[in-house]
Amino acid sequence: MSMPLYKLGAFGDEASLVVAFLIGIGFGFFLEQAGFGSAKKLTDQFYFRDLAVFRVMFTAIVTAMLGLFWLGWAGVVDLSLVYVSTTYLAPQIVGGLLLGVGFTVGGYCPGTSVVAVATGKLDALFFLGGTFLGILAIGVAWPAVEGFAHSTDLGRLTLPEVLHLPFGAVVFLVVLMALGGFWGAGALERRLGGKGEEEP
């Protein structure tokens, strides 16, 4: 086992910031290249006109999942050390709804708004300003919302644990789900989005 590199001490706290910076540049670059710096492109997915966001995200998920599974199998990555954020069911449902509304109305999600600001989009600048105001507001209101934010704590939860399936079976199901989703996305675009023939 030699990964995760940071957890196994390959580099320290300071170097981890440099690594984070480099990964951030890569992340921003590919988001921009996928067209995610445009609010129009991002919101088109909600009208089934252009499901590029869905495709890019699901492709990333499947790639990362297959990579982690097989690297874990080969003994390169210790999967038990990979960070899995805690599941807080109720607050995450509420937060997800809020994010969805904000995404549809504002045209960006937090990460893509930063990408769009970097390419000089004025609307994204306002969106980002709103994000910071929202963060400030939740910080001020924290004593009142903290109880809710930490409620329905299910701990470190993963799909194999919830479904009582082997990890590999979940991997296979997610691959099938992604391919089904890509096929469905193409069909939806052709029917509703007025798009011509396009490979899923």
Partner: protein
């Protein structure tokens, strides 16, 4: 060129990638689980951070306050032998053996407070639960001995102690009586708390170092993860 490679050559890049994903997914299905169950790996860096920051401690006074406030958001686990538990245990405590503790019905979503006679067993059990990825495990500082000394039989401050300290002691006395103990007068300061405490061998008192501890910073920064 065979028909299969011929067919593959006619596929688009997307189709080839999809085929690769299906092949890797089918392989994953065949492999099943990546890691053998029961095998654990310690995140030593994270553990060291917790230990240095001393965020995994609950003082006897804190626990007493929680009990009086009627808090029910924790599980109190007594790790001592069956007969010791029968003789005395903290209110609301449940006994568990260290062997098989990770299968003793404790939830990973629960706040678990461990105590033993003095603290060594609870520290060892803490490590065991941490290895099994229980996120919220705490140690009762000083174990049962600490509970007796600070909650059941708190020592009255010296007569020349500051007013504030003496005022705080009035509350400690009330808490002690709440749990069936009693504050010890200052004149008892040389002796061990009575009742439950086993007689202590008399040994020359070791002067505690006065210098403040260096190194571990309280509230040492914790690496944030996730987005």
């Amino acid at each position: 060129m065979s028909r299969a490679t011929d067919w593959l050559a006619r596929r688009t890049l997307n189709e080839r990638l999809a085929l690769l994903a299906v092949a890797l997914g089918l392989g994953a299905l065949a492999v099943g689980d990546v890691e053998a169950r029961g095998k654990v790996t310690l995140d030593t860096r994270e553990l060291a951070r917790i230990v240095e920051g001393e965020v995994d401690h609950v003082t006897p006074e804190e626990l007493a306050d929680w009990m009086i406030a009627g808090r029910a958001d924790y599980r109190l686990v007594d790790l001592r032998a069956e007969e010791d538990f029968a003789a005395y245990h903290l209110p609301g405590a449940e006994r568990r053996a260290i062997a098989g503790l990770e299968q003793a019905g404790l939830g990973r979503d629960e706040r678990i407070i461990l105590y033993s006679a003095e603290g060594i067993h609870s520290a060892q059990a803490w490590m065991l639960l941490k290895a099994h990825r229980y996120p919220a495990v705490y140690i009762l500082l000083g174990g049962l001995a600490g509970w007796q000394e600070h909650v059941l039989y708190p020592l009255e401050p010296a007569p020349d102690a500051p007013i504030a300290e003496r005022a705080a002691f009035a509350r400690a006395g009330e808490i002690a009586r709440h749990f069936g103990g009693a504050p010890r007068p200052w004149s008892d300061s040389g002796s061990a708390p009575a009742a439950l405490a086993p007689p202590r061998p008399t040994s020359p008192a070791v002067a505690a170092p006065v210098a403040p501890p260096t190194g571990a910073k309280p509230g040492a920064k914790r690496k944030k993860e996730g987005c």
